[in-house]
């Protein structure tokens, strides 16, 4: 089991000027697993993701990805190792067309962090283009491929960002509230999409408030409250856990 833990967050502490954001967090995510992290607002969920992608360096502890300790890795290096992330507020290229938005990440995974071929024609990158179109189709945005991304609705932006991550075929996909702000219909579509990805065997960590989404996707759930993991286990275990219910579910629902 230890051998195929894709992500291991080992004893991570993080303080923000006296405020404890994460303490003693220990989290294992196994290969192929969809791991949901739930918890009340301010529990430290986003901080945890930020630690995973190298945006925040932990005060203590390590993040181990695929056997590699990510102490001094910058975000782009972590991405090159195979970690992609969907942000809470969509981070897309608002001035570019949808197609370009999806092609850029494809180049990153194909060519690495830096490769200089100034005279190669974009026109000749038919493979990348085809793949990008396919990915847009997967998220249901193929019809809008020439539109400027900034003019999309919030829900569409999220799906675009998802396509941008998926085209990189990451070993680990981190999703920070992928359905927030979406209509019921869109949420269902996204859930279906994520389910198909699951069949491909992609490991995912997902932060989500919508319990419907959580329980229909997650293989395991960890509950974070006040910077600590108070429970971790299969969905049915979490559902029945009295501590969790008191700390989180009871209050929220």
């Amino acid at each position: 089991m230890v051998a195929n833990a894709v992500l291991h967050v080992a004893d991570v502490h993080k303080n923000f000027g006296g405020l404890r954001a994460l303490s003693d967090v220990d989290l294992r995510v196994d290969e192929g697993e969809t791991h949901a992290i739930i918890g009340p607002n301010g529990a430290g969920k986003s901080t945890l993701l930020n630690v995973c992608v190298g945006r925040i360096k932990p005060d203590k502890g390590h993040v181990v990805f695929d056997g590699e300790v990510l102490d001094s890795h910058t975000p782009y290096q972590i991405n090159q190792l195979g970690v992609s992330r969907v942000f809470q507020t969509p981070e897309i290229f608002p001035d570019l067309s949808l197609l370009d938005n999806v092609m850029i990440p494809a180049f990153a995974s194909r060519d690495g962090a830096f490769r200089l071929r100034p005279f190669r024609k974009l026109r000749l990158e038919g493979d990348v283009r085809a793949e990008a179109e396919k990915n847009l189709e997967d998220v249901g945005l193929a019809a809008l491929k020439d539109t400027e991304a900034g003019s999309l609705s919030r829900g569409d932006k999220r799906r675009l960002e998802l396509a941008m991550c998926l085209i990189q075929k990451p070993k680990l996909l981190l999703l920070d509230e992928p359905t927030a702000g979406m209509s019921r219909h869109d949420t269902n579509r996204t859930v279906d999409l994520l389910k198909t990805i699951k069949q491909r065997g992609m490991t995912k960590v997902i932060i989500e408030h919508d319990m419907h989404v959580v329980f229909s996707l997650a293989d395991r759930i960890s509950v974070l409250a006040q910077g600590r993991i108070i429970a971790s286990g299969k969905p049915e275990e979490i559902k029945g856990n009295p501590v969790v219910q008191e700390a989180y579910l009871g209050g929220a629902h």
Binding site: E91, D100, F107, S109, D111, E125
Partner: protein, 381 residues
């Protein structure tokens, strides 16, 4: 039509034809004389290069004139020390400005936004101030670096003794002043257009646009953005160096004021005026500004009186008085008004005007493709 222009050979042929025929179609505008034609070509290169940095990556350099100046000095020194042939001069100009751009870019690109702008400005101003004063042995200060009869010119001397007067720059014997000089610059411009076009339409160009649009996303997408911005900075510095050395080729003199912030500001204005991020917009901006600088400043009361002499005298006097405010010594006023009008009515510069025109001719409104300006500062999460 637009589709056709997208094809590389077509685009190159059309562009080359437009540039090489400039002496013809600029005649009715009174701009057909070698010096202005040369300036048109040279500053088009400068602005095009600046656009590779600013238009693609969004990094607004306020010190690009430094590279122009370095290119000029390097070229004139090549004329002084080695040969009057222009090829080594251009090579030196590009090389030195490339090295300068690498160093300045390496330091400045550690910061972004306005911090980057001020860093580049600071470097350029230091170059200018030093070139004007303490570096006079290298730059000849206020007067500008010029050819003298005592220059060694070692390579030329190997082939023959020095003549009585100052030699002129040449391309294997063909003198580089007047129209030949223009055609030389024009060919350089066409090459630059080709390079610039290729970069725009390459994955590199797309990557740079990604940096402009959302640098944060680029980092989480696995790009090491610094080498990319550094590359863009060096390429655009080399374009500037080429432009600077061409200034020296057509007129072998390099002055420090070429590096002053006003010169850096000028290329910024050219680029924005024409349309930053468009392929030929910056060139159009450069032409417009140079045209005003050279043609509008040349009007005086006498020429105005001639122009309006067909009117009855009181009317003619009034016309001369009013138009006199905008030409001759008032040409700056016209330029200022023009800047304001274009940016107010054509956000996106001349190219935006062109697009609107095309859309208008193409029939009715532009549909829903209307682009909201997405310049709202991105929230820092």
């Amino acid at each position: 039509m637009t589709k056709l222009l997208d094809r590389e050979p077509v685009a190159l042929v059309v562009f080359s034809a437009v540039i090489l025929l400039m002496p013809l179609w600029l005649t009715p505008l009174g701009a057909n004389y070698p010096d202005l034609l040369q300036k048109f070509a040279i500053f088009a290169i400068f602005a095009m290069g600046f656009n590779i940095l600013f238009g693609l990556t969004g990094y607004l350099s306020f010190g690009h004139a430094a590279f122009l100046g370095v290119g000029s000095y390097a070229a004139v020194w090549s004329f002084k020390l080695f040969t009057m042939n222009v090829l080594p001069a251009i090579a030196f100009g590009i090389l030195f400005s490339g090295v300068f751009a690498f160093l300045i870019g390496y330091v400045s690109l550690r910061r972004s936004g306005i911090y980057f702008s001020i860093l580049t400005l600071a470097f350029a101003q230091m170059c200018y101030n030093l070139a004007y004063s303490v570096l006079t042995p290298i730059t000849n200060g206020e007067t500008g670096l010029q050819l003298t009869l005592q220059d060694p010119r070692i390579i030329d001397r190997m082939f023959g003794p020095a003549g009585a007067g100052l030699p002129s720059t040449n391309f294997f014997g063909l003198p580089m002043s007047g129209y030949p000089g223009f055609y030389f610059c024009a060919v350089m411009l066409i090459i630059c257009f080709f390079i610039s076009r290729r970069i725009f339409k390459s994955p590199l160009g797309l990557t740079l646009l990604g940096i402009k649009s959302n640098q944060n996303r680029m980092n989480y997408t696995g790009f090491n953005t610094r080498p990319y911005t550094q590359t863009a900075f060096v390429i655009s510095g080399m374009f500037a160096g080429l432009a600077g050395s061409l200034l020296a080729v057509t007129d072998p003199l390099a002055g420090a004021e070429r590096m002053q912030w006003t010169a850096s500001g000028e290329v910024v204005l050219m680029t924005i005026l024409g349309g930053a991020g468009t392929l030929i917009g910056p060139m159009l901006g450069a032409w417009l500004i140079k045209y005003f600088e050279n043609i509008f400043s040349a009007f005086n009361d006498a020429t105005l009186e001639q122009t309006f002499s067909f009117l009855p005298e009181p009317l003619a006097n009034a016309a001369v008085a009013i138009s006199g405010l905008f030409v001759g010594e008032g040409w700056h006023l016209t330029l200022g008004v023009l800047f304001m009008l274009i940016v107010i009515f054509l956000p996106g510069g001349i190219m935006e005007g062109w697009r609107r025109l095309v859309r208008w001719i193409g029939g009715g409104g532009g549909g829903k493709a209307k682009t909201e300006s997405a310049a709202v500062a991105q929230p820092a999460e």
